[in-house]
């Protein structure tokens, strides 16, 4: 490596090490005032503790449901937009991407207005006589699922859109010409060809959902803890470093695991 190249790289690497790599590794090995093995010991306790297991289970379940919803709603949006010849297509695409620039706090906050005790949905249900009193919707798993789906749907749309846009519309026509119906063409031509994009979308959404903080904090409250809100409590309320680090480790492992599975799936998809 030439000296010039090294000079270009080193400042960036130094910041990366100081602001990310070294603290992240150090946290797992040696939380302040704890023994070296404290994190691992605590991790072993956690994965046998029913309370902790419920939080892990809730986090994974909500993550899977949100992933399903985001792909199930995001793919149709991406598909219709990619195949659209209307001039509104561009506007609708921009509308789907725009929320990514908007603060998560602002986006999640809307659900408080919709689902809260004096919220719009409760009003609608009671005034139409569908319910006698406004049902509890805020601080339920449903609220978290809705909030996370809103948050990550744009991500699913972009990933699926770039995959569908690369498929030649002529292939759809060819399948139709050979006698396949619209539904069959969709499931046997479009979906298999867009599968790598769908896998990327699912991975991003799942990883985002199991690590999100704002949504479970605002919409789940203390009754519906997820790993992220639990981690915050350990770190700043009970100041239990070993527990916080162990929770962080569980979250990180979950994300790494799903990334590994999806990159394996992607490789397999490429060879078949």
């Amino acid at each position: 490596m030439s000296r010039k190249t090294a000079l270009l790289l080193l400042p960036g690497l130094a910041f990366l090490a100081a602001g990310f790599l070294v603290p992240a590794v150090a946290m797992l090995v040696a939380p302040p005032g704890e023994e070296t093995a404290a994190v691992v010991t605590r991790l072993a306790e956690m994965i046998t503790d029913p309370y902790e297991l419920r939080i892990i289970g809730r986090t994974v379940t909500i993550g899977l449901i949100v992933t399903g919803l985001c792909v199930g709603l995001g793919f149709p949006i991406a598909y219709l937009l990619a195949r659209s010849t209307s001039r509104w297509g561009g506007v609708l695409l921009a509308l789907a991407i725009f929320p990514l620039l908007l603060s998560n706090v602002v986006r999640t906050f809307g659900w408080l207005v919709l689902l809260g005790a004096n919220g719009a949905i409760g009003k609608l249900l009671t005034s139409t006589g569908l319910a006698d009193e406004s049902p509890q919707m805020l601080y339920t798993p449903l609220a978290i699922v809705l909030g996370l789906t809103q948050l990550f749907l744009p991500l699913a749309v972009i990933s699926c859109y770039s995959a569908v846009a690369q498929i030649d519309p002529g292939l759809d026509d060819a399948a139709r010409g050979l006698g396949a119906g619209r539904t069959r063409t969709f499931w046997t031509v479009v979906v298999p060809l867009a599968l790598p994009g769908i896998v990327v979308a699912a991975t991003l959404v799942f990883a985002g959902s199991v690590t999100a903080y704002t949504t479970p904090y605002l919409l789940g409250g203390s009754g519906q803890r997820m790993l992220a809100t639990q981690l915050f409590t350990y770190a700043s309320v009970s100041v239990d470093w070993a527990a916080a680090s162990a929770t962080a480790l569980i979250m990180t492992i979950l994300v790494f695991l799903v990334s590994a599975v999806s990159s394996l799936a992607g490789r397999k998809g490429a060879t078949t």
Partner: protein, 268 residues
């Protein structure tokens, strides 16, 4: 779209449902911000701008807004100053393990931000006694480095190195060749990375959450705390102001580089 929708009723129904989930909650925030009442409810009671006044005269919001702006500008500038040279080295320098090096710069994207925040709090603030502004700046810069490296890298990959060599061959010094040939080629990438970086840092909650201090707090975290204490339309007004600013940024982005291009760079 209309033609597509009527021929594909199932897909069209799902798509409409998706748009409702993405957009409707945001509209409700805006509607409640104009309320004349004292609590967050729907439909809002009357129309007034009083909560906007209440938001912009509320010190915790305004002080943390200034802090968030400083932090976002500082971290974005640092990430570009460090990331652009690194990208050039990765793409143009003849170095072994290029993929590994790029992966290293992208690694902050893989680890959950809340986990990084915990690590910085524990190791730098508690362990080394750094103040929270320095820690936030370090953390946000590391978080934005992937954006700088990936987005500018994408435009650098499109630029032909032969153009730069031609400039050198015609007698330009390396510095001059860089400033007059390479840098203009990178401009859209740098602009996109800067814009994405600024927005990412300004909106960040999970990384900043544990790194707060009474003196220096960020706006999104201040807003989260506010919701816990009081439940009135002031927060909706502040959210609406952020929405308006974000729309302006989005329009600038769309007019200059194009939305799809900006986000195309960060998604694999």
């Amino acid at each position: 779209m209309r033609g597509n929708g009527t021929r594909r009723p199932v897909a069209a129904t799902l798509a409409v449902l998706g748009y409702i989930i993405m957009i409707v909650p945001i509209l409700f925030v805006v509607a409640t911000a104009f309320s004349a009442g004292r609590t967050l409810r729907f439909p809002p009671e009357g129309f007034s701008l009083q909560w906007f006044e209440a938001a912009v005269t509320y010190d915790p919001f305004m002080e943390s807004l200034v802090s968030s702006l400083y932090l976002a500008i500082g971290a974005t500038a640092l990430a570009l100053l460090l990331g652009v040279p690194a990208t050039i080295a990765i793409h143009r320098g003849r170095i072994p393990g290029r993929g590994l090096l790029e992966g290293l710069f992208l690694s902050p994207l893989i680890v959950p931000e809340l986990v990084v925040g915990l690590a910085l709090y524990q190791q730098l603030m508690i362990g080394l006694g750094l103040d929270n502004l320095t820690t936030l700046l370090l953390g946000h810069t590391a978080l934005l480095l992937p954006y700088a490296v990936r987005v500018t890298g994408a435009s650098l990959a499109l630029a032909d190195p032969a153009v730069e060599e031609a400039a050198r061959g015609l007698g330009a010094s390396p510095v001059r060749a860089f400033l007059t040939v390479t840098l203009p080629l990178l401009r859209p990438g740098i602009f996109s990375a800067g814009l994405l970086g600024f927005v990412t840092s300004f909106n960040n909650v999970p990384l900043s959450l544990l790194l707060q201090d009474r003196e220096f707090r960020t706006l999104p975290v201040t807003m989260l705390d506010y919701v816990q204490q009081s439940y009135n339309p002031r927060i909706a007004a502040m959210a609406t102001l952020i929405l308006a600013a974000t729309v302006v940024i989005a329009v600038i982005a769309e007019r200059t580089v194009g939305f799809a291009k900006i986000f195309g760079g960060i998604n694999r």
